[in-house]
Amino acid sequence: MPDGDKKLDAKARYSAGVLEYKKMGYWEPDYSPKDTDVIALFRITPQDGVDPIEAAAAVAGESSTATWTVVWTDRLTACEKYRAKAYRVDPTPNNPNEYFAYIAYELDLFEPGSIANLTASIIGNVFGFKPLKALRLEDMRLPVAYVKTFQGPATGIVVERERLNCYGRPLLGATVKPKLGLSGRNYGRVVYEALKGGLDFTKDDENINSQPFMHWRDRFLYCMEAVNRASAATGEVKGTYLNVTAGTMEEMYKRAEFAKELGSVIIMIDLVIGYTAIQSMAKWARDNDMILHLHRAGHGTYTRQKTHGVSFRVIAKWMRLAGVDHIHAGTVVGKLEGDPATTKGYYDICREEKNSVSLETGVFFDQDWASLNKVMPVASGGIHAGQMHQLIHYLGEDVVLQFGGGTIGHPQGIAAGATANRVALEAMVYARNAGRDYLAEGPTILAEAAKTCTPLREALDIWKDVTFDYASTDAPDFVPTTSVS
């Protein structure tokens, strides 16, 4: 260690004036994190000429107790305990200007059960800090002691399946389109046709709330007529995500209560309502036997760019703590951003009991979820029946596959589109269970199923050339290499 990084004695440390953060106690290379520490991994891009260790110490300082100058009032507290400690700084594999900084936070820095409090520290002031060009929160390790202060998903994957009486295959959904402009009566028509045709769920889009063309009560009433008609037509439990997002908590509770009164099995909220509102709705959902769907509206503004913002894997962790049952987590093959390995990392965070470090999928920490329920990931955006083998291969069984255009845009109509998707799904799960190499034989399996299902034949024909093959902006830093042993 260079001389300048050595710990100062108390007198030197607390003399009035400005001191480097690393000398103030925010850089402790010998620190070994406690099991109860919250750990954050940041990708830091220091300004030219700024020492990366000083930058990491500054992030630790600004996200915990520090300000820009020495304050004597530190000495009235157990300040060494409350200081976050940067303990490790690694160069990133692919960019000489970026570093990974590991920072440990004492558990007592955080209020139990509050995402708002956690994030006010971890992504508060620090993201605007001038000595950094850019800063990204890549991952977090949440100690079991802290995880246990959160409710977690209101329903969870297992109980959701029990309530829906639906096992052994991904759930199927569709977002009603066009997303804006339909009247309540027309909107319910789409819901009815799609559910009757074979989907389990339909969904309001993120920006369907209560607008001049369709107010919320009208939508709820027509949608529930559609849900019940479809249930009677098929003998299955059906649902439609009634979006209760509104301008105030009072209004959201009112809409949620009405959804409950109508017998809906599920409601939905948007990420933009904020962490506290999400936690409140999760508590309401637990109290009222309601599945809670979260649409991640707005996340792309801070998750997509690799150098600055918050990785979606961190948002997924926060949302599992906050208590949502569904979260949109990417499709791999659809129209929206999503590298396969990175997306697998998100899905693992939603669905596993314990996550193990997996750098190739962007998971930097072991994470024990301490029996918190699992979140059902949702794949939505530009997917269609012809990709069924790839979807099951990449995303697995516990996922909602949402085909909006891929249902409503079917040439024979909405119900036919839904049937095509359901037949494709069941045929692929059947083939997988029967031991076929379904990924390689996917197109053949679909063609065979289409022999007894004209809607599937038409879907395969019309969308056969649709792919969205663009470079990802958020691929993992680490790729597995073949070992030579």
Partner: protein, 139 residues
């Protein structure tokens, strides 16, 4: 109509060979397979009658297919489903559930509406067949 509960109701009805394949998949995953039957296919009728206990230690799908055919001899006009139960921690519930026998005619469900205040409607779904007593609902 066709009751489409279960994992594979949108596919043509399975042969015994196809049922065997799916059951073996469940067994190979360590799940206990059981057979259940009912003449009340209401979507929220959770507890169908059990044809014996789940077959916890059975390694061979042929035994399940044999029991299914025994069940069919008595309840051939009922709905019969195969269920696979996974007791591993964090799941402890059903992993796969599919219908393997159904009545030759499925009259479907009646949807009743009760209008209450504020344009609200309370819905109730009843199988048409359930007007008859249990045991005499399907031919």
């Amino acid at each position: 109509m066709r009751v489409t509960q279960g994992t594979f109701s949108f596919l043509p009805d399975f042969t015994d060979q196809q049922i065997h394949e799916q059951v073996q998949y469940c067994i190979d995953n360590g799940w206990a397979v059981s057979i259940e039957y009912t003449d009340d296919p209401h979507p929220r009728n959770t507890y169908w009658e059990m044809w014996g206990h789940p077959m916890f230690d059975n390694p061979d799908a042929a035994a399940v297919v044999y029991e299914l055919n025994e069940c069919r001899k008595i309840y051939g006009s009922y709905y019969i489903r195969i269920i696979a139960f996974d007791s591993s921690p964090g799941w402890e519930s059903i992993r796969l559930s599919f219908i393997v026998n159904r009545p030759s005619e499925e009259p479907g469900f009646k949807l009743s509406r009760t209008e209450v205040k504020g344009r609200n409607i309370q819905y109730s779904i009843t199988p048409y067949s359930s007007d008859n007593p249990q045991g005499s609902r399907y031919k």
